[in-house]
Subunit: 81 residues, 2 copies
């Protein structure tokens, strides 16, 4: 059985970068990786909430929510904006 | 070249579980994965700080710090305690 990893985010460029790093690191031979932009697909917010997602960005690994704070410096936000 | 993933934590059982989930998901053919308990090895706190780690648990992927909040329910903390 393939495990699942779902990233939820809302389009912040720094957060997208954080998720890209994590998605890149995940073993795709064992995990099906999906990225969901909740700003563009708000119909999936309920699904994210049901999985326990309280904030974005978050990754749900086999149903377990992990909330990610990039700890972005303002300088990074300026560079990404 | 192998990429590196370093988990920093301080022993909270729920946080350890969060990190175990992430460590399990990472592709070990491409990443060297290391877990560092900063409570037990405080000499590595400076290294974590230098990588940009502000809080634990955190994972540093190829030098980029990602801070993880498990969003643990109190019920989970009771179960893990």
């Amino acid at each position: 059985m393939t495990s699942t990893a779902i990233f939820y985010h809302a389009g912040c460029p720094v957060c997208v970068e954080a998720e890209r790093l994590l998605a890149e690191a995940i073993d795709r031979q064992r995990y099906t990786v999906e990225t969901v932009h909740l700003g563009e697909t708000p119909r999936r917010i309920a699904e994210a909430e049901a999985a326990g997602v309280k904030s974005v960005p978050a990754i749900v690994l086999d149903g377990v929510p992990l909330h990610i704070n990039f700890g972005a410096a303002l300088a990074d936000l300026k560079a990404a904006g």
